[in-house]
Symmetry: C2
Subunit: 398 residues, 2 copies
C-alpha cells in the first residue's frame, strides 16, 4: 500500500495524541507499506497565533500572518517526526518549502503552482517517512504562503496526486454526513459520496473536507477516504468516489450560517459590470449566487453573496466609484441541497420550496447548478429549515 | 546612523515588550536612520519547545529539534514586523533562509558559511526595516539549522559585518560586569572592554555575549555595544573596543559553574592521542584545559575539561576503544581571570593562587592563555573563591 495520511488539528492536539498518531503510522510503515504524513497545527494553535497578531495590530499584514501561522504546522511535524524516530521509524519533517510546494503570491489563500518533489521522493526512496506541514508553501520570491484554512487537506491530496498514492484524511468526525450532525443530530453518515457532490457540499458549507482537495483528487484520480482518527475500520468512514452506480436526487445538505448579499446598481455603460467583477477579483474575494436583473432602462441590478468577512472588506472599499450605490445585507444563511441525481430527478426545487413555504420560512435568492440548489433564508429560520428539509428528503436516521 | 539592534528573549517576552521594542525601532527609523533588527524567541519559548520534544522522545534528532526551535524566533519576528507596520514603518520579517544564512550541517551548533544578503539589501534599499530571526540558518541540503544557544548575538553581528553597520545588543543586563552580579552583587559595570577580553570572558563563562559574535565583530571591525533593553543612555552600557589606551591586569572574572574533567590513559602507540581528539571532534564536542603528562614510560595521561553534558555524552561513548581507561570527574567549577594587561603585569597567577590558598580553597588544573588564567575548584568552594578574588583584584565597588 502507498498512502498519504492527513491528521487534522484535533488529531494532534496534545503530545499524547501525537504519540497515538505515531503508533499508527509506525504500525503501517513496519507492515511494509509506504506512507507519508501531512499534519495540521496542534489544536487551537492557529487561533492562538492569530490572537497574538491581532493583539499587536488591528490589521496585520498577510505576509507576516502567513509566516507566523506556518510555525504551527512546523511544530507538529517536527514533534511527530521525533515520535516516529523514537519508535524506530526513520522520519524526516518537511516544511512547505522543503517539500517543494511552490505557490502564487496570494498570502492567506495561495494556490499551489507546482510541487518540486525531488527531496520528498529521495526520502521515500530510502525508506523513510516524510512528515509534511499542511497548509503552506513558498512563493517564487521566497515568502512563506498559506493555502487558507483547511488547506492541509489540499496539501495531503496534492502530495498523493504527485506520488500517485491513495489519500486518507483523518479528523474528529466519522465521515461525511447528509448534514452537519451538530446541526441535525439524526443526520446519516454516507459510506460513499461522489467527488462532484463532495466538492459542491464543501463549497456550500460542509466543513469536513476542503473543495480544492476534492477537486485535485478528482483531477488526478486520487482514491480519497475520510475517517475518524485512530479508527481502523474503513466501513466507518466515507469514500469519495468518481461515480455512483445510481445517483441519488439529494445526497446531503450544506449550510453556510453567516452570509451576506450585496447588490450594486450598475448604470448601462460599457464595462461597468465587468469593472465591478475585476475589482472584486483584485481584492481576491470569492463571491457566488451571482444574478443580474434590470432595474430600469438605464440601470442593471447586480447581486451576489459572499462571506460576512468579505462583505465587510467590500464595504470598506465602498469609496471606490465602482461600488456607488452598493447595498449590503447581513444576517442571512444559505442552505444548499446537493445530489448528483438532481439533473435526472425532477421536482427537487419544487419540493424544497414547498417544504420551506409549508413551514412559513421566507427565502430570498435562489441559484442552481447541475447538482445543487441553494437558497438564502433569514438566519433565525435556519434550524427550522434544516430540520424540515432533512425530513422531506429522507436524510436522517429512522 | 546605520545600526543592527539585537533583542534577546527577555526583551521580547510579551506582546507589551514587543510593542516597546517596536516603539524604539520606529523612533530610530523615523529619525532618518537605517536599522535592522535581530530578535530571539519570546521569553521561555525555546525551553518550552525543548520540553515538548523531550516529552515525545528522550533523544530527539537534532535536525528535528532545530526545525522545531526555529519556530520560536519566527514567531517573534513576524509579530515585531506587524508591530512596526502598525506604527507606519515598513518592515519585513526574514527567517534564517530568507535572510540567506547558509550554514554547515552541524545541527544545534551550526557555523555560518556565508550570507547571501541580496534580499536583505533589497529590503534596506527600499527603506524598509528587516526583522531577522536570530540563531538560525539553512544548510546546503535545505535543512533548518541553529547556531547554538546565544546564537542570536552571532546573527546580529554577522548581519552588521555583512552590511558594514554598527551592532547594538540589547538584553536584560546593563552591560558587561567584572563578574556576574548575580554571583557578586558588588561587581562593577565596565564602560569598555577589549574584544579579546570579551571573547575570553564569554568563552570562560560570562553569559552576557557569545564568543563567536565578539570574534566576528573583531574580525570585521564591527562597533559593538551591549546595553539594557529600553535604556537610551549609552554611558550605561558597555562598548567592546579593539584596544585600551592602557591595559588592566585583570578586567573581569568568568565562571563556569558546572564542568567536568576527563582523564584518559593513552598507551604510547603512534596516533593514540590523535585518535582521542579525532573522536571528540567527530562528536562535535568542545573541550579545553587540555594537558598531557607522563604516567609511566608506556603511558601518557591526557586530561581536559568540558561541560557536564559533553562529559555525559563522552561517558556514553565509553565503549569505544579509544576511551579505554577514561576517568570522569564531575562537581567542579572553573574560575578564569581575564585581562589584556596580564601579559605585561607580572604576578597575577601568583596573587590568584595565594588568594585561594589564604582562603583554604584547593585548586586542581591550571591553564593560562596570553590574557587569562583559569583554575578548577570544587563547586562548593566557588562562591568563596569568587568573593576572595574579586576583592583581591579590586573588581568590586567601594
Amino acid at each position: 500500500m502507498n498512502v498519504v495520511h492527513k491528521y487534522g488539528g484535533t488529531s494532534v492536539a496534545t503530545i499524547e495524541k501525537i504519540n497515538q498518531v505515531a503508533d499508527r503510522v509506525a504500525e503501517i510503515k513496519k507492515a511494509g507499506n509506504n506512507i507519508a504524513v501531512v499534519a495540521s497545527a496542534m489544536g487551537k494553535t492557529t487561533d492562538r497565533l492569530i490572537e497574538m497578531a491581532k493583539a499587536i495590530s488591528p490589521s496585520p499584514s498577510k505576509r507576516e500572518l502567513d509566516s507566523l501561522m506556518s510555525t504551527g504546522e512546523q511544530t507538529t511535524v517536527t514533534l511527530l517526526a521525533m515520535a516516529l524516530q523514537a519508535r524506530g521509524v526513520e522520519a524526516v519533517s518537511l516544511t512547505g518549502f522543503q517539500c517543494g510546494f511552490l505557490t502564487d503570491e496570494f498570502h492567506s489563500q495561495a494556490t499551489i503552482l507546482d510541487i518540486d518533489s525531488r527531496r520528498l521522493e529521495d526520502i521515500i526512496a530510502r525508506g523513510a517517512v516524510p512528515v509534511i506541514t499542511g497548509f503552506q508553501g513558498i512563493s517564487r520570491s521566497g515568502d512563506i504562503t498559506t493555502l487558507g484554512r483547511g488547506g492541509s487537506d489540499t496539501t495531503a491530496v496534492a502530495v498523493a496526486a504527485k506520488l500517485g498514492w491513495d489519500c486518507e484524511i483523518y479528523t474528529d468526525v466519522d465521515g461525511v454526513y447528509t448534514i452537519d450532525p451538530r446541526r441535525c443530530p439524526k443526520a446519516r453518515k454516507l459510506d460513499v459520496i461522489t467527488s462532484d457532490e463532495m466538492m459542491e457540499l464543501a463549497a456550500l458549507g460542509a466543513g469536513v473536507l476542503e473543495t480544492r482537495s476534492v477537486e485535485i483528487a478528482k483531477k488526478y484520480g486520487v482514491r480519497l477516504f475520510l475517517g475518524r482518527s485512530m479508527e481502523k475500520d474503513k466501513t466507518k468512514g466515507t469514500y469519495v468516489v468518481n461515480d455512483y452506480f445510481e445517483d441519488m436526487a439529494v445526497t446531503g445538505i450544506g449550510v453556510i450560517e453567516d452570509c451576506a448579499m450585496i447588490s450594486v446598481k450598475c448604470p448601462f455603460e460599457k464595462g461597468t459590470v465587468s469593472r465591478v467583477f475585476s475589482k472584486i477579483a483584485d481584492m481576491n474575494i470569492n463571491i457566488d449566487m451571482i444574478s443580474q436583473q434590470l432595474l430600469d432602462d438605464k440601470t442593471a441590478l447586480l447581486s451576489f453573496s459572499c462571506t460576512k468577512e468579505s462583505a465587510e472588506e467590500l464595504e470598506a472599499a465602498r469609496g471606490e466609484s465602482v461600488f456607488d450605490g452598493c447595498d449590503m445585507r447581513y444576517g442571512l444563511s444559505k442552505i444548499s441541497l446537493v445530489g448528483a441525481g438532481m439533473a435526472t430527478h425532477s421536482g427537487v426545487a419544487a419540493k424544497a420550496l414547498a417544504t420551506l413555504f409549508e413551514n412559513g420560512i421566507d427565502h430570498y435568492q435562489i441559484t442552481t447548478s447541475e447538482i445543487s440548489i441553494s437558497v438564502t433564508v433569514d438566519k433565525e429560520n435556519l434550524q427550522k429549515a434544516c430540520d424540515a428539509l432533512t425530513k422531506a428528503f429522507e436524510l436522517c436516521e429512522e
